[in-house]
């Protein structure tokens, strides 16, 4: 796993040529934090730095990383999506509901959709939640924090309503009904790497391409950096805004499916407070909550920092209460370093006459959200 993580760092010279040296440098901070975490816990516990444990931890990271990739898109747009944790719960429940068979009163029978249908339906539900968020934010101009806080409750409520608060167990399916295979993601491995991790890698690759190679990515960075300028440049800023929430919802759907698959069951309470960990990962990864700055590489590193830290604390037997204290401290520390970095960078950029855009506004906000995380 570490060699995989080193890969982006080895590409440094190429990035430096493109003038991105600075960005790498402070993403390096999340990277250094990760290395420190691995070294410290390896020293404290012989069970930490083993292939099995690294895979287990990475599997844990995968869910948060997938959420964080979606969250990054929203944060690049200067928004926030608090509903993803609830969406994780809802999509799992929807999948469970479908797998257990749907009553069709007209034919007086029970339909058992195939697994691929279940997956598509669940992801569609995730996307739908995102779309509602996006429309609330872009069309009705509801502040993202408020809009997604509302859907956080609504979606969680829906998930509880569907199951009546209960858990759907035993989702492995029945061969006779042709709906087996749902636990594939959770239990299978490919080249001895769990499928969940591969899904994360695939989504990260897709996200990187989307952000760096497509017009959409450029639109996103521009409209997050300065919506008015982007609009006057002919960028469909509203569509971009809706899209990022849909992407975030779909990512939450993927995460929900992975969890349900791993557990072979679906619980409506799944995923509560996951949104905060996802936001933390994005922020540790160097993204600006003001929008326009951040990337997938950093976000992944952020997810790994949080995951490897909390699993490490569990392994060495730190009490749960102290775990929370450490996690919170790491988040604040990471963001503190980043905001220091932005400030000095901005000062450099303002060498001549250009006044910093909203300079005084940029700094308090990251801390405000971290406080709630």
């Amino acid at each position: 796993m570490t060699s995989k993580l080193l890969a982006p760092l080895r590409q440094k010279p190429a990035w430096l040529e493109n003038g991105l040296g600075l960005r790498i440098l402070f993403e390096g901070r999340a990277f250094i934090a990760l290395i420190v975490i691995v070294i410290v816990f390896s020293a404290l516990s012989p069970n930490y730095f083993t292939v099995e444990n690294l895979l287990v931890m990475s599997r844990h990271v995968a869910v948060n990383a997938i959420l964080a990739i979606g969250m990054l898109m929203v944060i690049l747009n200067a928004g926030i999506d608090l509903s993803v944790g609830s969406t994780v719960g809802l999509t799992g429940v929807v999948a469970g509901y479908l797998l257990r068979g749907v009553d069709v009163p007209i034919w007086d029978s029970v339909a058992y959709p195939a697994v691929w249908v279940v997956i598509i339906c669940s992801l569609a539900v995730g996307g739908l939640v995102g779309w509602v968020n996006g429309v609330l934010v872009s069309r009705f101009k509801v502040a993202p924090f408020v809009a997604t806080l509302g859907t956080l409750y609504v979606v969680r409520g829906l998930a509880l309503l569907i199951t009546n608060g209960l858990t759907y167990p035993k989702l492995q399916g029945t061969p006779a009904l042709g709906n087996t295979g749902f636990n594939w993601v959770g239990f299978e491995t490919f080249l001895s790497i769990p499928v969940g991790i591969l899904v994360m890698v695939a989504l990260a690759a897709l996200g990187t391409i989307l952000l760096n190679k497509t017009p959409f990515g450029r639109w996103l960075y521009a409209s997050g950096g300065n919506e008015r300028a982007a609009e006057l440049s002919g960028i469909p800023v509203r569509k971009v805004q809706v899209s990022v929430y849909v992407i975030s919802g779909v990512c939450a759907g993927v995460a929900g499916l992975i969890i349900a698959s791993e557990l072979t069951s679906a619980t409506p309470q799944t995923g509560s407070s996951f949104e905060l960990t996802a936001i933390a990962a994005v922020v540790i990864g160097g993204a600006s909550l003001m929008g326009g700055r951040g990337n997938i590489r950093g976000t992944l590193l952020g997810a790994f920092v949080i995951g490897f830290l909390s699993d490490g604390l569990v392994i060495i037997g730190v009490s749960q209460y102290w775990q929370m204290v450490f996690k919170g401290a790491v988040i604040v520390l990471a963001v503190m370093l980043n905001s220091v970095e932005y400030r000095s960078k901005r000062a450099k950029a303002n060498s001549s006459s250009a006044p910093p855009e909203g300079a005084d506004l940029t700094d308090p906000q990251p801390q405000a959200v971290v406080g709630s995380a």
């Binding site: 190679k213 521009a222 300028a229 002919g234 326009g292 450099k348 950029a349 060498s351 001549s352 855009e357």
Partner: protein, 516 residues
Amino acid sequence: MSGAADVVLRANDITKRYGGTQALKGVNFEIARGTVTSLLGENGAGKSTLMKILAGVEKPTSGTLELDGELVTFDSTVDAADKGISIIHQEMSLCPNLSVRDNIFMGREIVTAAGTVDYSAERKIVRQLMERLEESIHPDTLVADLRLGQQQIVEIARALSVNARILIMDEPTSALSASEVEVLFKVIKDLRASGVSIVYISHHLEEALKVSEYVVVLRDGDMVATATAAHVDIAWIISTMVGRDFDLGQPPSPEGYGATALTVDEVRVADPSNPERLLVDGVSLEVRAGEIVCIYGLMGAGRTELLETLAGRMPLVSGKVLVGDTDLRDLSISERIELGLGLVPEDRQRDGLVQSMSVGHNISLASLGSFVKGLFLSRSGEDEIVRDGIKDVQVKTASAAAAIGSLSGGNQQKVIIAKMLLTNPKVLLLDEPSRGIDVGAKSEVFGLLSSLATKGLAVLYSTSEVAECLSIANRIIVMRRGKIVAEFGSEGATKDEIMAASGEQTDTSRTNGKNK
């Protein structure tokens, strides 16, 4: 500064380096007690940097500051303020959600014995300040409810309330009316008489000449000249600032016009916050290919609203806009850009640039479609059009990957123009293209417009400086309160006629001698 003995502040060999760029290259600068010193120079010459160092916002890379003959360092603006240096910033730094009184005493509230803010004492001082500035602004008015010029007055009042020994004014008159400028000059005279030293920075050169005793000219981070104001004239200042002769350019010859490129017919635009009120009231005009048309008007005449409506930013109440023969009704901004209509907005920072992106990415932002291969952006395709864009409008930048904030105002403006030019426009709208850029960049921008027009582009720009319509526009349209009140050809108009039509008082000397 011919040996004026009583120097309050002296800067010795100040240098300032930001990364690779040297903003100041060893500047020596003196401020004499009870005088007004004008600091002049193009954008990027180092004026703002020097002022930031004097006001404690930035620290010099090397060099020293002497205050009353003693070496000092300023750790912060508060530190500088404590030592008697106060600054009126070019960009408004008021909180619109707070009252005038709260803004003036922000961070220095008067506190009663009980530890609460002494509002009545504060109010009293604000009233005195407003009296001095001959303004009737009530202390409890929200800053958001004031027009821009009044906000600038509040900014000035705040600087005055500090009782500074040295007052730095960075473009204090940019939003003031002629009569308000007169009052400010009176206040400056009073201050000077009471021993306050003033450093005055302005793009209005004749204003600067009128109000100051000494003139200091910066160019490319060097101090190139100091003189007594009485001994120099505008022409000398401009040639010293720019280092070459200055000409805004000539309009292209009228024979070259093509077909009508832009038709505006009885356009009405309402105030978004008050739909009853029309900001643009029945404006009709035409611009032909190859023609440069200037809209002159005061602040609030409806120029910006008209141009933003044409670009698709604001909705039309009634009327018609055509590009060529195509009606623009209900078309989005991007569809309008595709049809060949682009806007270079008035406020670069707010509407023009994405600060978090590089120079190159800003330039290519409006024409991403031209270098998409399949689903992806082609890096080589982008590099090519960015290179062309930088070359065509002569943006001075270290590289396409440089941060947009590292460019001077004029070059940032050129980046936005390059961005719109890459969309192959037929009609280019520019809202105050010279705002906040220096004389040299101004002439480059207008020269560029002129050469674009000769290639068949229709150009419609707005301005509030008469000199800028007279020199290069083929036609001048004067707007006042949302209506077109006069129209002149480039030959027939005089400055006084244009200003009279716009409703501006010409009896002040504010704009005298501005055109060349």
